[in-house]
């Protein structure tokens, strides 16, 4: 069985992305909320946000047919309902947040495993029970769920007066196990849309929190008009989790239900009827279709039209301009109080209003004293199916998250890359046009042309900057995730470490952020587990400052520098040296190692100073993987430490992964470029410094070093290149441990280029092994070949650079 509703497969991407974002956001809010003294002092906004998040996840998971996720989210939502309504009598903040984090993690895991058909859906029953138990504890008793012991009476608004003859009613019962029948119902109704006109459903608002309960109790009533009854019944019967779908007629109501009401009863909110009102005042309840985005605006138009026939005394809600007015109207309808001589005209105007669903004249509940209309006890009132009486058809789920209207747009990275490509193409074409050889000799007549071309250049430059900046995101997105790591570790290790951010608004390329997540987590874990001492140890060492881990980010020349600093115990160079020696990691005499080199053993493979392996670190695998990951994107990881003061791990990554500064040369007529970062200096050498030893090895003697000579012409098999070192140009390069002097014909320029790897079609040529990293298109449209310095220096010298 597929994991989710098959018809929803196309939605999977969106669902995963959106839910992922929501969960990430949820973590952030949870972190913030946890700072509060106790549950009562959590900010209302945060509670509402968590509640809304869970509600959305519940809904979309149910939409996808992922019952386990939706039930779990539902349980969390229930929990927060209690907190939001403050109906708890006792609380347990620790337990609550542990449970919330656990659930959030479970949801995240489930989400990640979703595309993999082989991993079955996880059973969250245990977790859900835990949440329910905690919820019961909060409410002060062992009883589960709200008090909903009303006798199962059928909703009394299934049949209304004045319904068309051909309107059919179906009663759909869902199986017990169906967690969110309301969401299933929405899908069902959408499907029905193809063959029938669905007029309304009972319960009316499937998006409502109580809709699920209503459907579970009484089933879902769908009122529709159709020409193709067979198709409708087929759709109903094939719906997921549908147990039975049978036509329902009025007589059933009488026999099956209790106390059917002939008169449609309208849930009249407080304030519609005031104690001393004019007798002539007529009241109409107007409800709008749920698809109507701004009923308040529609209402205003309507009121203006009414002005011609009637005197509108007031409306409920009174202020249609108010932000909340739309919600209220969607929920309970719009009440218009007016005095008129022409009732017919008024009713016509109302009926003809756009998006109007129903217009019902409302009579004052004469017998009832005013007090009784007021919702004296909000709790039981809400539980009764009365609230489900709003006259609205199934809502296609959406208008719930009105507050956080996103001003962000999610775009596929591919599209951005394409845009970037196009822009570079424009820049290149532009420079080709402006420096076209056809213009030569016309300089005196080109005043206006030059002026416009300068303008064009300015614009294209700006365009390029903007497009580049689109890919930039603040590092805070990567930093924020560490909050969670620190919190979890504090809970288990009891080190009470504080996480501090600096420069978190530093912007870096999106691909760097994506790559940073894992390394940062390892480093932060390491800092807390290995670096920060236990409170007792700190006290013994006389440290009064709170244990702190500082994450900072900033730019340094063309690099992003991200560091993680702790004020913990620091590392003992001697201890590390001993361990490195024991593990056979030394490559030169012990006394030649500088302190810096010694500390960097820590990030080498198979090294861990911590004697005991903990849950978080100590296996000595983490850090070298971190190092490799960083190096893969051209970055560097360095370590520094002071015994007793703390350690710092620093990551340096080139600002943009694709743009590189290069030095371009000509070799045998071809343009060859070397990354500027590995070039030490370029010089022309004289005859005396060129050395050939008896075995034919060639060296260049530069100051006090003897460096191997690599002729680019011969390793790249380019003919007609300069062979005499004194005629060409020498480039002293160093990459890692390897250094050498490259010989090229002449220096062309230094420039910034975008390195494009060779087409995968050329994989069979092993260009990388031959020392070629890729190619790059230059400003004038010509191309240059970029060398892979690691393989050029490493492969050709085959030995370590001469040490003096």
């Amino acid at each position: 069985m597929p994991k989710f509703d098959e018809s929803m497969e196309s939605m999977l991407d969106t669902f995963m992305f959106e839910t992922g974002e929501l969960l990430q956001n949820l973590d952030d809010i949870l972190m913030r909320a946890e700072q509060a003294e106790d549950i009562a002092s959590i900010e209302d906004d945060d509670i509402a946000e968590i509640f809304r998040t869970m509600h959305t996840i519940k809904g979309s998971a149910a939409m996808m047919g992922l019952q386990n996720m939706s039930t779990l989210a539902h349980a969390m939502e229930d929990m927060f309902f209690i907190i939001r309504e403050k109906t708890y009598v006792r609380t347990d903040k620790g337990a609550l947040f542990d449970l919330l984090y656990k659930s959030s993690d479970s949801l995240k895991n489930e989400l990640e495993n979703l595309p993999d058909e082989d991993i079955p859906l996880t059973d969250f029953t245990e977790q859900i029970d835990e949440i329910h138990k905690l919820a019961a504890y909060f409410k002060g008793e062992g009883e589960g769920g709200e008090d909903k012991s009303d006798a199962p009476a059928l909703p009394d608004n299934i049949f209304e007066n004045g319904e068309p003859e051909n309107m059919q009613t179906y009663r759909v019962m869902y199986s017990e196990s169906c967690a969110m029948p309301a969401a299933r119902a929405m899908v069902l109704i959408r499907k029905l849309g193809a063959v029938a006109e669905v007029c309304r459903t009972v319960p009316a608002d499937l998006d409502d929190d109580n809709a699920d309960d209503g459907i579970k109790k009484f089933g879902l009533f769908i009122k529709l008009i159709t020409d193709d009854t067979a198709a409708v019944e087929k759709i109903l019967a094939s719906g997921l989790n549908v147990e039975s779908a049978v036509p329902f007629v009025k007589d059933d109501l009488k026999s099956g239900g209790a106390g059917a009401a002939a008169e449609p009863e309208i849930n009249v909110p407080d304030g519609v009827f005031l104690p001393d009102e004019d007798e002539k005042l007529l009241t109409y309840q107007v409800t709008f279709t749920s698809t109507c985005a701004m009923p308040s605006a529609r209402a205003m138009v309507m009121l203006r039209k009414l002005g011609a026939f009637a005197e509108v005394a007031r409306t409920v809600p009174p202020d249609l301009d108010d932000e909340g007015a739309d919600d209220i109207i969607q929920k309970q309808g719009l009440f218009i109080k007016l005095i008129t001589d022409d009732v017919k005209a008024v009713e016509q105007v109302l009926d003809e209003g756009r998006n109007v669903e129903s217009v019902i004249p409302v009579k004052r509940p004469a017998a009832k004293p005013v007090e009784e209309v007021k919702p004296a006890e909000p709790k039981p009132e809400a539980a009764k199916p009365q609230e489900a009486q709003e006259k609205k058809p199934a809502a296609p789920k959406a208008p719930k998250k009105e507050h956080k209207e996103q001003s962000l747009l999610t775009v596929k990275l591919e599209k951005l890359d394409k845009l970037l490509d196009l822009v570079s193409e424009i820049v290149i074409t532009e420079s080709a046009v402006i420096s076209s050889p056809d213009l030569r000799g016309m300089e005196t007549k080109l005043d206006r042309f030059n002026k416009s071309s300068r303008e064009l250049k300015k614009l294209t430059d700006e365009l390029q900057d903007v497009v580049m900046s689109i890919r930039m995101v603040p590092v805070s997105t990567a930093f924020q995730k560490m909050n969670r790591v620190v919190r979890d570790m504090n809970n288990t290790l009891k080190k009470n470490a504080v996480l501090v951010f600096r420069g978190e608004d530093t912007e870096v390329d999106k691909s760097i952020i994506d790559m940073l997540g894992d390394p940062l987590m390892h480093i932060v874990r390491n800092a807390i587990d290995h670096g920060i001492e236990s409170p007792e140890e700190r006290a013994a060492a006389g440290k009064t400052h709170p244990p702190t881990v500082t994450l900072s980010a900033g730019y340094e020349s063309n690099e992003v520098v991200i560091s993680c600093k702790d004020n913990g115990a620091g590392m003992d160079a001697a201890k590390i040296m001993a361990k490195a020696k024991k593990n056979g990691m030394l490559t030169k005499p012990e006394n030649e190692y500088t302190e810096r080199e010694i500390f960097n053993f820590v990030v080498a493979a198979g090294f861990s100073t911590n004697e005991t392996v903990t849950q978080y670190s100590g296996r000595g695998v983490g850090m070298d993987v971190v190092k490799q990951n960083i190096e893969k994107v051209g970055g560097k990881l360095t370590v520094n430490s002071k015994l007793g003061k703390g350690s710092t791990f620093t990551i340096r990554i080139p600002l943009s992964l694709s743009i590189v500064d290069v030095l371009s040369f000509e070799v045998g007529g071809s343009s060859i470029s070397v990354p500027a970062s590995s070039v030490r200096e370029a010089f022309s050498c004289d005859k005396d410094s060129f050395i050939i030893d008896p075995e034919g090895n060639e060296f260049i003697y530069l100051r006090d070093k003897c460096l191997p000579l690599i002729r680019l012409g011969s390793i790249l098999k380019l003919e007609n290149s300069v062979t005499d070192p004194t005629e060409g140009i020498c480039i002293y390069c160093r990459e890692g441990r390897y250094e050498a002097v490259l010989l090229a014909d002449k220096l062309v320029c230094d420039q910034q280029v975008v390195v494009k790897p060779f087409s995968p079609l050329l994989d069979g040529l092993h260009l990388k092994e031959a020392g070629l990293a890729g190619s790059s298109i230059l400003g004038d449209g010509s191309m240059t070949i970029i060398l892979d310095m690691n393989s050029v220096l490493n492969g050709e010298t085959g030995e370590e650079g001469a040490n003096g």
Partner: protein, 144 residues
């Protein structure tokens, strides 16, 4: 990349071109562009049949020589020689040919499959009174 089997079963448009007096064809859906020979950037250490890279709409696209790729003698190129840009699973590759001849509709009954599996030539178009066309498999041709 278009499926050559589709061509063999239902027929279709064939872009025909010549190299060293022989006539070859690509299924037209494999062809992205036909362009003049641009400036080429030599790839050091690459074999002779790889002519180099060209800047094709901001992308560095490798260019190969059909004659050398098929082991035919190197030819002279004139202004009618051109590059056929092939698109293979979104990857582009240029192929230098002597000249492009025609785009013709081929009926399936005129096509004979080659018995060689994974060869560069997938089949032949043999019709009375007309030159034989060898249908090339672009992927096998340009993948090194």
């Amino acid at each position: 990349m278009a499926d050559l089997n589709e061509l063999f079963e239902n027929g279709g448009q064939l872009l025909t071109f010549s190299a060293a007096e022989n006539c070859y064809g690509f299924y037209i859906l494999d062809v992205a562009d036909i362009i003049e020979i641009p400036e080429l950037t030599k790839i050091p250490t690459a074999p002779d049949f790889v002519l180099g890279l060209m800047n094709h709409r901001g992308k560095a696209v490798p260019v190969m020589d059909l004659r050398l790729r098929l082991g035919l003698p190197e030819g002279e190129f004139d202004e009618r020689s051109c590059i056929i840009v092939l698109e293979i699973n979104t990857l582009q590759c240029g192929l230098r040919v002597d000249r492009v001849l025609d785009a013709e509709l081929i009926r399936p009954e005129d096509i004979t499959r080659s018995p060689v599996e994974n060869g560069m030539v997938k089949g032949f178009v043999i019709r009375d009174g007309k030159e034989r066309i060898s249908i090339l498999d672009p992927e096998i041709l340009v993948r090194t």
